[in-house]
Symmetry: C2
Subunit: 221 residues, 2 copies
Amino acid sequence: MESLSQTEENYLKAIFKISERDGDSVSNNAISMEMQTSAASVTDMIGRLSKKELVNYQKHRGVSLTDEGRQVATHLVRKHRLWEAFLVEKLSFTWDEVHDIAEQLEHIRSRVLVERLDEFLGFPRFDPHGDPIPDADGNFAVRKQVPLSELAVGDEGIVVGVQDHASSFLQYLDRVKLGLGAKVKMLEHFEYDESVKIRQSPDGELVLSKKVSQNLFVQKK
Amino acid sequence: MESLSQTEENYLKAIFKISERDGDSVSNNAISMEMQTSAASVTDMIGRLSKKELVNYQKHRGVSLTDEGRQVATHLVRKHRLWEAFLVEKLSFTWDEVHDIAEQLEHIRSRVLVERLDEFLGFPRFDPHGDPIPDADGNFAVRKQVPLSELAVGDEGIVVGVQDHASSFLQYLDRVKLGLGAKVKMLEHFEYDESVKIRQSPDGELVLSKKVSQNLFVQKK
DNA sequence: TAGCACTTTTAGATTGATCTAAAAATAAAT
DNA sequence: ATTTATTTTTAGATCAATCTAAAAGTGCTA
Ligand SMILES: [Mn+2]
Ligand SMILES: [Mn+2]
Ligand SMILES: [Mn+2]
Ligand SMILES: [Mn+2]
């Protein structure tokens, strides 16, 4: 268990992310996409991670994280999200500004630091984007949430997360006052372009494109 | 001005540190000592830093920082010390625990982050070890301080800094209640081993070895 | 001034991380 | 079941950062 390079950590995080999305076996291709590197580089790195028993790997068969690899990955996610929370809660960054800095901070090595930070923040369970912060054992809180687009007419809900983390999307949400915690009620589905009309508490009405309504998570109330 | 690797940054910081101590022209040897690397590696790196115009260099002639190199170095020191202050002030680390974590945090790249952190901490002028935190332009506060060993009998002072940052020294100081801010009065110099006896406010008396008294900075009162 | 000690540079290798181009394997389609 | 397309691996290079061993340069000392 000598310590990993940032690059190795980034690969593990990428593999974790993809396997959460697409299932346990992750293709070279998906990794090279996510990491923006050549397929050859991925093959090479997978070999190294495999030698360190962080991934299971047989040629042409895809990779999956071992328990240890998964631990490393979830710990990175934990650090990433805690730092994002720190930046927003304590240093008044906005939710569209924190990701890139957290990408760096997540590689800081100090178990104690992470636990102290967690405590300092009051043990937050979700990050500024509504994503769950795993606990020290790598367990994620689950929350029953649905894309806003799936609310039936008349349903009410609260915005609790975003699917897309692009700055432009987050800034758009700020502009239309649909940040985390916003109360919404579905008023109408338009068949034509799958846009929706919602009421946004207490008195605003808003039409949202398909893309927006599918990328916003709400909790039904 | 493409961005520097952590290694390059560490070399610049080392060169800065040595030149503060020993004068502007820094030898290969001193750097290899400070960085714990071979002289050959130093020569190699110096070549690279020179090509990037971060140091002035002619073979066998020693190196010195250019203005740009100096800027980078002082900014690293600024970040290092702000993070140390953060760890102590906000996350309740002790002064002997923070250096290694700050060695990592100092490489985080985000101008805004540094300025926000500075503000969050209330613009501290000194770090937990009493070292000055340079401002954004790289200017260090100067403070007239002397090693405790140089107080004359009867002189009073306040502990404001340490020369040696070793954990064991810092822990020793905690044990004998000689942290930053402690009030001391010189009572006696012992010629035999150059130890000293001091009064430590309000009522303690303490004998300190030469090594200790030379590594503690006080401000005369 | 000639010799010796110490410092610095060069030469040559290694390791991690990356690339492109080509070969091999797998998956999809005809 | 062949052929074709796509994915994955290999081969061979490059670049940064490091090392050891040897050569070259500086400078002190007798
Ligand atoms: Mn993020
Ligand atoms: Mn997030
Ligand atoms: Mn320090
Ligand atoms: Mn310090």
